[in-house]
Subunit: 139 residues, 4 copies
């Protein structure tokens, strides 16, 4: 599990005066970038190895609106890792009162740089075993 703080940007609000729902997917991505950075395997390095991690699925429940002026804390949990798939869970909280704003799940496929599915366990055993360990700790 890792925690990532995000300061709401003005551009992220919409005319409902809350953060637009599409932004949570971007925050979740920033949070998993931060997770991998802290786990010692930056996502930029994963791409340098010729691996990509496109989404196959996104789910998000919105419970309360984040507002400009808020700092948001994203808790990121590595949930399931298989040789072809990765599942990550997220909880977004408003920092000042710990209110739960949103909960999300992303499911990813492991691919090469031309977006063809690959077997991560064979292609990058070190990354695979790191994620296995993380998933074991977070679940």
């Amino acid at each position: 599990m890792s925690e990532t703080e995000i300061v709401v940007r003005y551009a992220e609000t919409d005319q409902m005066k809350i953060v637009h729902h599409s932004v949570y997917a971007i925050w979740f991505e920033a949070a998993r970038t931060d997770y991998m950075e802290k786990a010692g395997y930056p996502y930029a390095r994963i791409e340098e190895e010729g691996l990509m991690l496109p989404l196959s699925k996104l789910e998000c429940k919105f419970l309360s609106g984040a507002r400009y002026g808020d700092t948001v804390v994203i808790k990121t949990f590595m949930k399931k890792i298989t040789p072809v798939r990765l599942e990550i869970h997220y909880k977004a909280y408003r920092k000042k009162d710990s209110a739960l704003l949103a909960e999300g799940i992303t499911v990813h496929a492991w691919t090469d740089s031309s977006l063809k599915i690959i077997n991560l366990k064979k292609k990058s055993p070190a990354l695979y075993s790191l994620l296995e360990k993380e998933a074991g700790a977070d679940t």
Copy 2:
């Protein structure tokens, strides 16, 4: 059901050379705006009546990446309407070969302008019955 054409914008791509997954939520929104426009009840008018329609849930499966140069067709289906809730389904296709790119669901709450839940059937019976009719036709 309505169909909405969207031309991929360069800014919507990411360094995987496909459209970033967060963009589909924005396209779905543009598609439901277009749906309501065609149904004769523009979403801008809904907000003028003091009603808002924030998301409570988003689900999206990504099957193939949209690319710069593609035109995307979104088919939008009004699925379920209750006095407090609206569910809409979407299918995004690549226009040139009809490949299915993504399938999504948005669930919305009906609220007033301060984001408090309201009963749509009481607050705007005309809109409620229009949506009921649409949902009947689309399901």
Copy 3:
């Protein structure tokens, strides 16, 4: 000169209830994509030839706010072409009353796919002479 219609997206508004200023750069890009499409040389083809056109400069004056519900018309003018540089001008109008919303300029460098400056006249004489003709007509 080409004209491109853009329907304001809800996600493009911010809590001032107008379209966020950063969006105009995205609209200008969509408008020049459309320009090149209509000129018979789609920008996607330019990239397939190994050419890229990153911005070196952006200027925009904002005169009136676009709102959700508006359709915006972008007029795009090819202004100056040299072997290493392209300058394009834009005027954004609100469709319903022709109010001028914004005026912009983008200046681009011609590069190869690794972002190194190239000489367009040598690399792609056909594209160069097309743009020269367009710039002659638009200025």
Copy 4:
């Protein structure tokens, strides 16, 4: 002057594998939010007083592309304040090698919540004199 660190988000890249130029306007905005926060007058408070600060002009020169994996440092300079206008300058650097990525200017109008121009010196003398002091120090 204030310094704001920004971690590049994957969603901010485009298929040129650099950060899309429209993102700099969003970063500049995040940087001026941070500036005002540090100056003890958060922008969210300015809006609570019924004041808004829409852009009337944006200029940006792009010198080198930011990439995913980069941390960017924005230096923000309060440049000119008049009762009806505010001008802010920005320099964006890549943190790891201090390379200058972009330089920008935003010019803002002071308005009330319905976007009508107001005289800041009369409407909020405390904010006006704070900005005058900051502009004196930054110029």
